[in-house]
């Protein structure tokens, strides 16, 4: 191989940096920390209530969840968790994609990620807000009363 056909050393530095006014990175960074902090309580509360507190996995069924969702506290709890965790996770995945994917592949992944996130946020929120606890069987006396009243 002669010197002529090797790529020139010291190729000029190609800066891909573009500076734009609104900077999502800073807000993303803050968001990761704030949401992460809140999620510690939300997720461990959730896990504790669902996996430990009832004592048995078998209890986890439609009736259990329905009972939970009819309580506004848990509705808001799970709603907050849905939004915080999904956006946290999606933003984290965005970082990963930016790190490891390049070119077209990157844009495809980013779009897929964005669409998935929005769809799931909408879906999850709809489920939470329009959920009808009277749809199925329950042994929760209070619930039965409410449903009967309808």
């Amino acid at each position: 191989m002669s010197t002529q056909n090797i790529a020139a050393p010291r190729s000029p530095y190609l800066s891909h940096r573009k500076r734009n006014r609104f900077n999502i990175e800073k807000w993303g960074w803050i968001y990761m920390r704030v949401s992460g902090f809140l999620l510690v309580f939300l997720i461990f509360g959730h896990l504790f209530y669902n996996l430990i507190f009832p004592g048995k996995v078998s209890i986890l069924d439609w009736a259990f969840v329905a009972g939970k969702f009819s309580d506004p506290l848990w509705m808001w709890w799970d709603g907050a968790m849905l939004w915080l965790a999904l956006i946290h996770g999606a933003n984290g995945m965005r970082t990963l994609v930016n790190d490891y994917a390049h070119g077209r592949f990157r844009s495809v992944l980013l779009w897929a990620l964005g669409i998935t996130t929005v769809v799931l946020l909408v879906l999850g929120t709809l489920v939470l807000t329009t959920f009808d606890p009277c749809l199925g069987p329950t042994d929760n006396a209070e619930l039965i009363a409410i449903c009967a009243a309808q």
Partner: protein, 262 residues
Amino acid sequence: MAGAATLEAVDNAGAPEAPIQAFTVTLNIRRFDPEKDAEPYWQDFDVELYATDRVLDALHKIKWEQDGSLTFRRSCAHGICGSDAMRINGRNRLACKTLIKDLDISKPIYVEAIKGLPLEKDLIVDMEPFFASYREIQPFLIADSKPKDGKERIQSVAQRARFDDTTKCILCAACTSSCPVFWTDGQYFGPAAIVNAHRFIFDSRDEAASVRLDILNDKEGVWRCRTTFNCTEACPRGIEVTKAIAEVKAAVLRGKPDIPKQ
């Protein structure tokens, strides 16, 4: 030095009067000659060394006695010029600051070029992208107001101490080329550039902190740091690089650096 695998403890190794005892050490060097090789390859060399020798001495012995084509940068030989950052046993070090006695010589010593910058030949990489990032953060004092008496600007001992750590940088690139985020696409400004920005952002005499904070508040700026601390571990000058980066992040958030008033 932190992180050295001190497996071979040689008595008195440090003292110059140490009994002269030489070891045969195997160096396994990742070589690449752009004029001959399509791909880098590894090559072994056996060298007679003393415990107090540095890896740089080993490289010199190879170059001067065995294979003159072994190519690497070096100048000062005592950790002050920043020429010879390389990956020694998987970690970024200066060859001239890594003593044989601090390495496990029962196994070969692996030596390869630093990662993330284009490989040019053997242990030499292209430093241009590194210096380009450095230049981008405006690494110079910006202060238009002249000191009143035409003498020096006044700076208190505490203000001077505020940025002391980051003035030590020798631009060796050990940090930037140890950063997993930098490896991904080489677009991240990198810890060295941020360290040098910190040097001025936190200098009470400087008047352009906000400009630099703005530059680093960028997609490729401080926010790309994932606090992996490889930079801090690698820095041969003992600069607390990650801490400096954290301080710059905090300064971006507050809109100004936290400098002592007095």
